[in-house]
């Protein structure tokens, strides 16, 4: 049974359709990527999922059914724009947010201390949140999201504002949560991070689902007919190759329609050419993203909520 399932969800704000017929689902323990350009409808989809907004149409099932107040305690949500009380000490802020998730004060204290140590924030626990740097506040927000050990973790741009060291720390934490069986929805613009962490993705643009499925299948779908070859010698013109393009020390051979990559490999071997690398050229998620988004016609004069 899917742990989250959106079926034909539609949500409008006045004349603007923020989300239109969006459907996707994820299974327990998945690390799922939710992608899309600014104003695509990602955050609206998340807010509908979290019952902050009621959908105009379609249905949402979370943790096995409709959202309830009790289920909120099993979900950790980190919004894109951070939201912590600025004028109270960090420790008190975490205690309050933990208590709202139904945690006992002793548990909040114990877990908060462990996370504060891990994120090098222990020395700042008595400081007001507004006195912390942007990066520290970002880490504090991560702690607040994980404090109650959620079953479903929804993180919106978790790496923004973090230096490489802290980015790695958060990335490790997400992997660790994933290994512990936590279902994670990662909403991000940083395609390389999504590519590195997620197994399946959904790409939303103009409120509609543009891509949905396993990352490898999607990349294969967009791969076209080309191979990447690394060789210490210059490659001759091979039959079935239409164009040769140098790419970071390799050459990308664009194949004519109907040419099998295996035939190219056989041709290289038959000519006894040294081959250090041979692979089907698959586009990066960045390239796929740009290709999909640029192919979608823009609606002039409409600004999306979310």
């Amino acid at each position: 049974m899917p742990i989250v399932e959106l079926t034909h969800v539609t949500k409008s704000f006045g004349p603007v359709k923020a989300v239109e017929d969006v459907s996707f689902s994820l299974e327990k323990g998945e690390l799922f990527g939710l992608l899309g350009p600014n104003g695509a409808g990602k955050t609206t989809s998340l807010r509908v999922m979290l019952d902050i907004f009621k959908p105009d149409g379609g249905s949402v099932a979370v943790l096995g059914g409709v959202m309830t107040e009790a289920k909120k305690d099993r979900i950790g949500y980190m919004p894109e724009e951070r939201g912590l009380y600025q004028d109270i000490p960090l420790e008190r802020c975490l205690a309050y947010l933990g208590a709202l998730k139904g945690m006992r004060p002793a548990d909040v204290k114990r877990r908060a201390e462990a996370y504060l140590e891990r994120f090098d924030l222990a020395a700042y626990k008595n400081k007001k949140v507004k006195e912390l740097s942007k990066g520290m506040q970002q880490k504090a927000q991560v702690i607040a999201t994980l404090l109650h050990q959620p079953e479903l973790l929804i993180v919106d741009e978790p790496f923004s504002g973090l230096d490489p060291l802290n980015t790695q720390m958060v990335k490790d934490l997400l992997v660790e949560q994933h290994e512990q069986g936590v279902t994670i929805i990662l909403c991000s613009h940083q395609m390389h991070q999504v590519e590195e962490l997620c197994e399946r993705i959904v790409l939303i643009d103009h409120g509609k689902v543009m891509l949905y499925g396993g990352l490898i299948e999607i990349r294969r779908q967009f791969s076209g007919n080309a191979v990447l070859v690394r060789s210490p010698v210059e490659l001759p013109i091979l039959p079935g190759v239409e164009r040769v393009e140098p790419v970071n020390g390799t050459v990308k051979l664009h194949l004519a329609q109907g040419t099998d990559p295996q035939a190219i490999l056989q041709a290289l071997v038959a000519r006894k050419l040294p081959v250090e690398q041979f692979e089907i050229a698959m586009p990066t998620l960045d390239e796929i993203f740009i290709r999909v988004v640029q192919s979608t016609p823009r609606v002039q004069g409409q600004e999306r909520a979310a």
Partner: protein
């Protein structure tokens, strides 16, 4: 602890344990102390203990009984007899007396006398001379009757069932509701202001989005209203303690403090009318906070609430002259004008039970409706960053 109480506790702690709150808490009693001090200073400036002279041609003061001792803060003034006006004038010119009175031979029948002074004689001193005259006019009368005559009439209005009464000498029973009304208004708008600002800030800094994934909008809003009502009540309680403790300590030393008594009716009005009014104002302030985009805009909109609350003070003359008129009754029932009108009327008349009950029921219903409205405004306006929620959307939108 339920999430509603968690929100209420957080809201309470967030506002009460701050320098801003403590400063606000102490500033009102400090201003009152300063005002009282100023009043005492003005009274003290009017007190002149230089003796008063008199020339008695009527024989009334040939063997005078002493003047009754004035009540604090006034101090006794010596009354010195003079055989002739020439002697009295010499004493006045020499500054040994501040004025002298001349009682003509027919004073007992005419009641007319003459006063001579260089600088105008102040009221406390002249009052002491009149009390001196009164005591001597009543010389020989039974002392208890004389004391009552000097004290003057004390009309007490009593309800038909005898449970409540209002005395004309019980000045505090009139003054207290007026002061309490102002105290309540200050506390209402201080704590309501905190609430409105907190809601606007939570929208501005996006805390709301995190909170709403933990608690329902209605629970959140109700918790905030409970917390901020407690903030206001803490303020009032602290003020009361700061006022009551000195009164209790000084009660025996300062006679006028002995007139201070709070009637059961006043307490009933405070609990049944003021408390729901408090919640009503807090909920309306929260609703404003949920609809506006910044605190300054919200402060401008609070005028819509504060103006009706002050209306009874603007119409104080009408309320005082006719506390049971139709206007007074209507203002006692209208939600935002009711709290002050009821308190003012409480000091002036005996309020029928049905009026208190009806007024209270209206206030409670309106408070509940305001909480619902605040919850709705909050749900509709919570994630509208940078865009104000219109009245049309508030009442027409379904979400």
């Amino acid at each position: 602890m339920s999430k509603l109480w968690q929100v209420a506790l957080q809201e309470y702690r967030r506002h009460v344990f701050t320098r801003r709150f403590i400063f606000g808490l102490l500033s009102v009693p400090l201003v009152i102390i300063l005002l009282v001090g100023l009043i005492f200073l003005i009274i003290a400036m009017d007190i002149n203990t230089t003796p008063i002279g008199y020339v008695d041609h009527s024989g009334l003061l040939s063997d005078p009984v002493p003047a009754p001792r004035p009540s604090a803060p006034d101090r006794p003034v010596a009354m010195i007899p003079f055989a002739s006006e020439t002697d009295a004038q010499s004493a006045l010119d020499a500054g040994r007396i501040q004025a002298y009175y001349v009682l003509p031979a027919d004073y007992r029948t005419s009641g007319l006398l003459r006063v001579v002074h260089i600088n105008e004689i102040k009221a406390p001193a002249s009052q002491q001379f009149y009390n001196f005259l009164g005591a001597n006019l009543l010389k020989g009368t039974d002392s208890a009757i004389a004391a009552r005559l000097v004290k003057g009439a004390d009309v007490t209005v009593q309800s038909a069932d005898g449970t409540r009464s209002l005395s004309s000498n019980g000045w505090f029973s009139f003054v207290f509701p007026m002061i309490a009304g102002i105290g309540f208004i200050i506390a209402m708008f201080t704590s309501g202001g905190y609430l409105m600002q907190a809601v606007v800030e939570e929208k501005e800094n996006r805390t709301m989005e995190v909170i709403l994934t933990s608690v329902s909008p209605n629970q959140f809003m109700a918790g905030k209203i409970v917390g901020d009502t407690c903030v206001g009540l803490t303020q009032i309680l602290a003020w009361l303690l700061l006022i009551i403790i000195p009164i209790l300590v000084e009660r025996n030393a300062v006679p006028f403090l002995q007139a201070i008594q709070i009637s059961t009716q006043t307490l009933v009005v405070l609990v049944c009318i003021m408390l729901p009014s408090f919640v009503l104002v807090a909920a309306l302030m929260a609703a404003i906070g949920a609809t506006v985009t910044e605190a300054r805009e919200g402060q401008q909109m609070t005028g819509l609430i504060s103006l009706p609350i002050w209306i009874p003070y603007m119409l104080i003359g009408l309320l005082m002259s006719s506390p049971n008129s139709s206007l007074s009754l209507a203002l006692s029932m209208i939600p935002l004008t009711a709290p002050v009108t009821m308190l003012v009327r409480d000091g002036l008349t005996i309020l029928p039970d049905w009026q208190i009950a009806l007024g209270s029921a209206i206030q409670i219903l309106c408070a509940v409706a305001a909480i619902w409205l605040a919850g709705r405004a909050f749900r509709l306006g919570m994630l509208r960053y940078g865009k104000r929620l219109s009245l049309h959307e508030l009442f027409a939108h379904s979400m």
